[in-house]
Symmetry: C2
Subunit: 390 residues, 2 copies
């Protein structure tokens, strides 16, 4: 394991981990989704890090964002070149300390991280669901996560933690299962997707559906809508960065060439970087899943959840302590949206800590090693644990 631990300068890695699977809602059982559609069986892919305490009181549930999956930290094998997506935060002695906490993360419903989704086999037809997969919501994702915790014998968690779409799940947890969640950490997220965020998601979906290989979602076994998905990813990727970050990272630097190509080749490093991001993404992500998870994000809206008249009303159910963190250069879910959340929580007399972290790297800041963020989360978890065991 030692050969991996030194790959991450910020701390020690959890090392080699395995993906696990849990299947429920087997026929004739089914789960009923928010849309009214029924789904079953449902398989959940998940990973855990650290040890569950005998009192089962040290559980931290991590909720991943759009392009993530259950592989949060460590390596699946000695040959992996890259660890999980939040290696900088999760591990022994890190912000979410696996020496103290039992960390659980599952791949979200509708995505392509091993949990049931459009690319998985539909038992009814014997072929992948494709667009026969029902549209799912953040609420549906959380319901599946709760089934996993039940399976693991966990009735109450110390914290649910997530950024971006993961933050939406964390907020949903706080109102769907209020007595099961001692605290919520919501990073770079929002109570409801703005028109701007919906617009970018819709354009990305259009790009996928415009790819002739998409074939109404039934492309499995044939050529995949890679060009459409690459364009979709590029759109998303730009919204995760900031003007400042891009200036710092690329400016107007040209590729190897010293001069303009006067062709439609890539002239600028930023162009080649984006194409690279697009290409990398299509190798690991399913185009239909991109449609489903962006739609779930677009539908998320605490202001009208379950017929509520306002976010204050929706959040009235919550009992958890909250840590809300925004990042100064995040223009996808700007700080004012986190402040709206904080105000709605405070109107319900909930225990809320809020911090805007100065960071010039845009929305993605929550994924990037950040000492301040690690300390904030570590201190918050310690306080919550102290208070609930008092």
């Amino acid at each position: 394991m030692s050969e991996y631990t030194d790959r991450d300068a910020a701390g020690v890695s959890v090392g080699i981990v395995s993906k696990q699977f849990f299947t429920f809602a087997r026929p004739p059982e089914e789960i009923v989704l928010e849309s009214g559609a029924r789904l079953g069986p449902v398989t959940v892919a998940y990973e855990t890090y650290g040890q569950l305490s005998p009192q089962r009181d040290n559980v931290v549930v991590l909720l991943h964002a759009l392009s993530g999956d259950c592989h949060v930290a460590g390596y699946h094998s000695q040959h992996d070149l890259k660890p999980g997506w939040w290696e900088s935060m999760v591990g022994p002695g890190k912000g979410i300390d696996t020496d103290k906490y039992f960390v659980v993360c599952s791949s979200i419903l509708g995505s392509c991280g091993g949990t049931t989704g459009p690319c998985e086999n539909n038992p009814a037809s014997g072929r992948p669901y494709g667009l026969d997969f029902p549209v799912v919501t953040v609420g549906d994702m959380v319901m599946v996560q709760q089934a996993l915790l039940e399976h693991l014998g966990i009735t109450r968690v110390l914290a649910v933690i997530g950024g971006s779409l993961g933050g939406m799940q964390a907020l949903e947890w706080s109102v769907r299962y209020p007595d099961r969640v001692a605290s919520v950490v919501a990073l770079a997220t929002t109570m409801r997707h703005s028109a701007l965020a919906i617009a970018f998601n819709e354009i990305a979906r259009q790009a996928i559906m415009a790819d002739p290989n998409w074939r109404q979602g039934h492309y499995y076994g044939g050529p995949k809508p890679d060009t459409g998905l690459a364009v979709a990813r590029m759109i998303g990727h730009v919204t995760y960065l900031s003007d400042e970050a891009m200036r710092r990272k690329f400016g107007r630097r040209l590729q190897e060439k010293k001069d303009f190509s006067f062709q439609f080749a890539t002239d600028f490093q930023v162009e080649s970087y984006l194409r690279h991001q697009g290409d990398k993404f299509v190798a690991r992500f399913d185009a239909n899943s991109f449609l489903y998870v962006t739609k779930a994000a677009d539908y998320f809206d605490l202001e009208r959840r379950g017929g509520a008249a306002s976010a204050v009303e929706s959040l009235a159910a919550a009992q958890a302590r909250f840590l809300v963190v925004s990042f100064s250069s995040d223009w996808l879910y700007p700080t004012y949206q986190s402040k709206e959340l904080v105000r709605a929580l405070k109107k319900n007399s909930l225990d809320v800590s809020f911090c805007e972290i100065k960071a010039d790297c845009g929305h993605d800041a929550f994924l990037i090693p950040n000492e301040r963020l690690s300390r904030l989360i570590a201190n918050f978890l310690e306080r919550v644990q102290r208070e609930i065991s008092a």
Copy 2:
């Protein structure tokens, strides 16, 4: 004419106008582009409004942006439902007063407004240029505009005025033909395209080139890459708006339906608005032209123009008076970029007025009726005319 004049509450319309054409660089003549490529013949489509004074000292040249053309104001026929793109600014008694000024606007080189571009016939092959059309720069566009003015017998203009890509042309005019330009009005523009702006343009180009109908640019006479171009336009359109404007305009309002569709149909008004924008655009714009004009914008960079070491050095050639205007919610070319321009102009001891207009409608603000902007431009033009005739 009266039936049109009352369509625009802000003032009187110029009424019925006609597009005119001028062809130069006829064989064996050719123009030499910045890339070194040669091009000829070159046809320029243009419109004029108002009367040229006997002293030829009242000329205002308008420079259009990415999706515009030479049709700035008025109507081509009594049946037109919409006037030119800057009807709110150009006309008798308006910000750019056609009772006082002789206004000239030509469609830019490489676009599809009637001036030579990829969709026009290539005399060498007898079919549209497609991607055989050479990549052009903002400098090339300005060179062609200057040829038109020479043809019209105009040696010096009172002002060149443009926003966005039009503003880049205005800046280029000031350094390419410094003794021909008494003043420059640069709106919502930049001295060099940022990495963020290049990124969005590149993604839009990728969306077009990913459309199988694009066929390496030779789609004329067959099905057009409409889906790719629509996605490209939607990307552009979102960058022209602001978070605030979209919130005000759409919020999370749903289409007719009262509830989510739980399908990949359009649920939100913003989605349907964007699809509509995309569809409208493909009816009037050429996909290849989109590639050419965005590339020209990406190449624009006063900081390294002609081997200069800085924008200050590039602008040292300028002699004009400048009015620079930015808009507070423009995140494509934010105010800080206009301020950089102003600093570079001031370091050259040039006469510069700068104003940031508070507007919540994003980059597109310069196209939207704005009393303050109209007054700013009107007063600036009056002052320049007074000073140069003094």
